[in-house]
Every structure is written in C-alpha cells, then in structure tokens.
Symmetry: C2
Subunit: 173 residues, 2 copies
DNA sequence: TCGAACATGTAAAAGGTTACATGATTAC
DNA sequence: GTAATCATGTAACCTTTTACATGTTCGA
C-alpha cells in the first residue's frame, strides 16, 4: 500500500484501464491534497539514481476514509462511446469510413481482450480484481461478437439508400 | 431533422442513454453557439400553449460539418465505472455492502436491458440505430451473466481473511 | 546515440454537471 | 390540487485533460 504518483499512473494504465483513467494532472495535485489532509503520508527517497521519489503510503485515517467513501457512495457508471455515436449516424457516413472505424474498433477490443486474458490468472490477484477483469473480458467478448455479427448488415444496408425496415442486424438473437 | 433543446434532452435519455449523456447546461449553450455559426437555423413557435418553442433545424453547412466531424475524428471510448472500482477493492468492504452493491447493479442492468430490448424492433429505426442498441444489449447481457456467475465467488472469498489464491471467479471460461 | 522508462509537477483551458430561476399545461 | 410534462436558460462550480517544463538512466 505505497507508491509514487508515477506508480499510480502505471497502475491505472495496467489494471484500471478498462474502467477508469487518470492523468498526472489529476494524480499529483490529489496526492498533495490527500497528504495535507493526513490521509496519506510522504517519505522522500533520494535515490542515487533517478529523480527523488516521493513515496506515499496510506495512513490509518486514510484507510478509514477510503472505506467510508466506498461504502457510502452509490456507484455510478458512465460511458461515452464515440463509436456508437458514429454507428448511430451510420447512414450519413461513407461506407469505407464506416468499415474502417468498425475494424479499428474490433482491433482495439481484441487487443484489450488479449491483454486482460493474459493478466487474469496472476496469482497475486484477489478475487475482487479477478472479478473486475472478468467483467472487462465478458464485455469485450460480447462487443466483439456483436461487431462481427452486425458488420455486414451495417455495411450492406449502406450501399442502398437508407431504407429503414429491410435489413436486420442480428446481433441480438 | 429538427427539434428543441428539450427534444434533444429526451432523445439523449431515450436512445443515447447507454452510451452518452447530456444535460440542459450543455445543450442550450451549444445550440446557441451552433446557431451563431450558421450550422443550425432557428424558428420560434409561439404556440398558444406552453412557452415559446425554439425549434432548431440543421442547415446544409451544419450537415456537412457534422459529417466531416464524424469522418475525421477517431472515435474515442471512455468509461468510468465506480462499480468496478468497488469490486477491485472488494476485500476492504463489508460483505453486506458488497452484496447490496452487486444486486443493485444487476437490477439496473436488467432494467436497461429490458428497455433496450423493448425499443430494439421499432420499425422506424435505421440499421445503424439498431446496431447501436444491439451493442448495448450484448454488453449488458454479458455483464449480467458475469455478475451472477461471479457473485458467489466474490462474497465467499470474503468471509475468510483475504487469501489470494484459493478462490476462482469463473466468469471467464 | 537515441528512444523509452523513470520521475515530478503546474497552468490554462476545456468540458461538464448541478442548482437555481421561471412559468404554463395537462392528466390523475 | 398536485405532480408530471413541457419549455428555456444561466452561473457557479467541479473535474479533468492538455500542454508545458525539466532532467536522469537504461537498454538497444
């Protein structure tokens, strides 16, 4: 339960990336504030190598505040998918662009999926972390399947003028 | 292709809700700005009933700008799930709280799913819209399945002290 | 030697929500 | 009569990202 701002950034990129993100611009100020509030403590490592490391650890007060926060707040969930905005207006787009975007999305999903699958069985992972990863995996697989099932219907309905009730995207079955 | 700010809000709530959201605080200023830029035009309906309606329509310039926007930007996707943050730290939480949160999430997912399934086959929906809905449906179903499969493992691993390598969340199989 | 990784931070700008302020109408 | 729906908007606030600024060390 200790680490630097840099470590936190890496943690976000490695383990949180499929459900949360944070940049240095929010991490470093937050660490400073938490320290002032006594929720984390600071130890400076003046290593011979690299710049000074500011290693933060959570305090007992911090742990309590964290658990209290997790316990009190109703968990919200927000997503903002420009991919789906795009497909929503698929009829306005040139078919090539649409195909390109769908394929690019599939590639990214596959990449994320591969990554999550590769880290899933790390023995150091708690059940909670594994569950979190499983949710990501399940969701990605579903989206990939939907993408591959719906792709042709989307592109086909595209070459004809946008007739609304002739084609079927059979992802849902 | 015309409507009021109020209509847009409803559209977001009804059709966009599973992948985007917007509040009046962003819709109304945006409409004002778009109008000044000539991308949408304004017609005021002084109906006998209700306050004046400001009905906006997209202009030809606006349509071009919109398509251009959709074509140029690489679609980003960001989600922020406090539910998964919570499960990530499941070992810190009292079991009751965890169960309550998981069940609440399942309820919300089921509700969204029911809604999406109910609107999916509207004949007025284009293939693009249907695809968008299908992605939502697929994703929700996967998450629900993962929730129900993983729930017991998460809660079971919970009563014992957080031993890390004894339990299995078998959502991924 | 050159790029990636290590390491910290700030300031400005962007983007968004919440809460407020107002008021008619319609359905129960 | 009272709640929901219709309808518009602003201002303050909050959160977050982006871009900047700086410098070392390690591996190829």
């Amino acid at each position: 339960m200790e680490g630097t701002g840099y470590d936190i950034k890496r943690l976000f990129e490695a383990t949180f990336s499929h459900f949360h993100s944070a940049s240095y611009g929010s991490i470093y100020p937050a660490l400073g504030q938490l320290q002032q509030e006594g929720l984390i403590s600071l130890r400076v490592e003046q290593g011979a190598r690299y710049p000074d490391r500011k290693v933060y650890s959570i305090t007992e007060a911090g742990r309590q505040a964290f658990v209290s926060e997790l316990t009190q707040t109703a968990p919200s969930e927000q997503l903002r998918s420009e991919l789906l905005v795009l497909t929503f207006f698929a009829h306005l787009l040139p078919g090539e662009r649409l195909a390109q975007v769908l394929d690019q999305a599939a590639r990214q999903y596959r990449e994320s999926l591969t990554y999550l699958e590769s880290v899933r069985d790390h023995p150091s992972h708690s059940a909670g972390i594994r569950f979190t990863i499983d949710m990501g995996i399940a969701s990605l697989r579903a989206k990939l399947e939907c993408l591959s099932t719906g792709r042709d219907a989307l592109l086909a309905g595209h070459l004809t003028p946008p007739r609304i009730d002739t084609e079927e995207a059979t992802c849902d079955a």
